[in-house]
């Protein structure tokens, strides 16, 4: 590429940039002002996680890539509507990406997918073993720590509770669809999901500071 560029800003502004990591919320504020550098920074913080989330839902690298581009595009366009009182930036991004991914799966056709899934299902009804993640070569000790804690927390849950939560989160199934899929009473699924989520809330409290 033949053109490179530099943006010059006052030292005082630069000092606040380099001293401490800019909080996620500030980045979103800067995105609302049209600063694509802030979007790049947010990608560096969450891109890997959102891509992994998208892959877990859509399974195809090209589709997952599409989901991530769409999700960050939506976050960019709607940055000014982000309301910190309703939750963290991470949860906001995950919600957007998950819903784009589930939309894509639905668009592809639930039926075709059901067959595809049926071939992969293990005895307990869940397609992907989520716990026991491989080593993480990624940058960002904080994110790795989050991954480790979440994997550990999910592994701690009784299997039926974990399955109920994962089917809802990664497959977008409702409680009655899960009951049907697992041939269990609806009330049982409701209890498992609620109890499991309450346990996760306790186990993940180190990551939930200031939001719970």
């Amino acid at each position: 590429m033949e053109v490179v560029s530099v943006t010059l800003i006052p030292r005082s502004v630069m000092a606040t940039m380099s001293d401490a990591p800019v909080p996620d919320q500030r980045l979103v504020g800067r995105m609302a002002e049209g600063e694509d550098i802030a979007l790049g920074e947010l990608y560096d913080r969450y891109g890997r996680t959102l891509y992994a989330l998208a892959m877990a839902i859509v399974r195809e690298p090209a589709d997952a890539e599409e989901v991530v581009v769409d999700a960050f595009g939506q976050a960019w366009r709607q940055a000014s509507a982000f309301d910190p009182r309703r939750g963290s930036v991470g949860a906001w991004l995950a919600t957007i990406a998950r819903s784009r991914a589930l939309d894509m799966v639905r668009a592809r056709g639930r039926r075709a997918r059901a067959y595809e899934r049926a071939a992969q299902l293990s005895d307990d009804g869940i397609a992907t073993p989520i716990a026991g993640l491989g080593p993480d070569p990624g940058r960002g000790a904080e994110r790795s720590e989050a991954r480790r804690l979440v994997a550990q927390a999910l592994a701690t849950l009784p299997e039926p509770q974990r399955v109920a939560i994962e089917l809802a989160y990664f497959e977008g199934l409702s409680q009655s669809e899960i009951a049907e899929r697992l041939a269990e009473p609806l009330g049982t699924i409701k209890t498992r999901m609620r109890t499991g989520m309450e346990k996760l809330r306790g186990l993940l409290s180190p990551l939930l500071e200031g939001t719970a």
């Binding site: 006052p10 502004v13 694509d36 991530v68 366009r77 995950a94």
Partner: protein, 254 residues
């Protein structure tokens, strides 16, 4: 009748998006008037958000970051309702168009447009140089335009067109230097003394659009780390005489 306690049981499945449609609508109606349940939903939404970290780790493709940014450069964020941003932005865009137009006329250098077009192409590889000047600005130059807002700290953006050996400088909200003085740009390579990139001054509105030839010493170096701006006597100094007013790190895209 659903009691308050029972409503709270809806928060976790709601955060997972697992309620039946009719349950969801009923719960949302309840949420509107119940702060306790809203707090529960907030907490469980955070828990659900963390489940994203439970997805098996996979390395995203190398070009994904660029795609995300290229997509963002095609559209600008929706303005917050409290700011009359569209009008201000259009005014800024119009001002920039005028500045570019004036620059072209003044220097009678049709090549300038090509420099800008290359910048657009570089910034926005997918939707390079679209039809009109305004469309160009909405695409790749959003950053420049946004930086031009009033009441902001001074800033400048410098493009180095290597093929043509030119620096193209846009300065914003940088108060005009007094008579007999001007601004000087410095290229700084790590471990070396700053090299002058040239001098300019801003107009009464604090703006400047300038093209500076790339000096032989800088061109020979081929790679600089930082860029700084100082106020100096008109005509420039051999070395900076004050601490930089503006600083930036070159973004190497190649």
């Amino acid at each position: 009748m659903t009691t308050a306690h029972e409503w709270q049981d809806f928060a976790a499945p709601y955060a997972l998006g697992a309620l039946a449609p009719e349950e969801r609508s009923a719960f949302e109606a309840h949420l509107a008037g119940c702060e306790a349940c809203r707090a529960e939903v907030r907490a469980f939404t955070e828990v659900a958000g963390l489940l994203a970290y439970g997805a098996p780790a996979v390395e995203p493709p190398a070009g994904l970051r660029d795609r995300v940014l290229a997509e963002a450069r095609r559209v600008r964020p929706i303005a917050a309702p409290r700011r009359p941003a569209t009008g201000a932005w259009l005014a800024a865009a119009a001002a920039l168009v005028l500045a570019i137009g004036a620059a072209i006329t003044a220097w009678r250098m049709a090549g300038r447009v090509r420099i800008l077009e290359r910048q657009v192409a570089a910034d926005d590889s997918s939707k390079a140089a679209t039809d009109s000047a305004l469309a160009m600005l909405t695409g790749a130059q959003v950053n420049v335009v946004t930086l031009a807002g009033t009441g902001r700290p001074p800033s400048a953006r410098v493009f180095w067109n290597r093929a043509r050996g030119r620096f193209v400088v846009f300065a914003f909200d940088l108060p005009q230097a007094p008579a007999g003085r001007g601004y000087q740009l410095w290229a700084i390579a790590k471990g070396q003394a700053p090299m002058s990139m040239g001098t300019f001054n801003t107009d009464a509105a604090g703006r400047a659009t300038v093209v500076l030839p790339v000096g032989r010493d800088i061109a020979a170096l081929g790679f600089v780390d930082n860029c700084a701006l100082t106020e100096e006597p008109a005509g420039g100094s051999p070395q900076p005489t004050e601490t930089p007013r503006l600083l930036g790190a070159w973004l190497h895209t190649d």
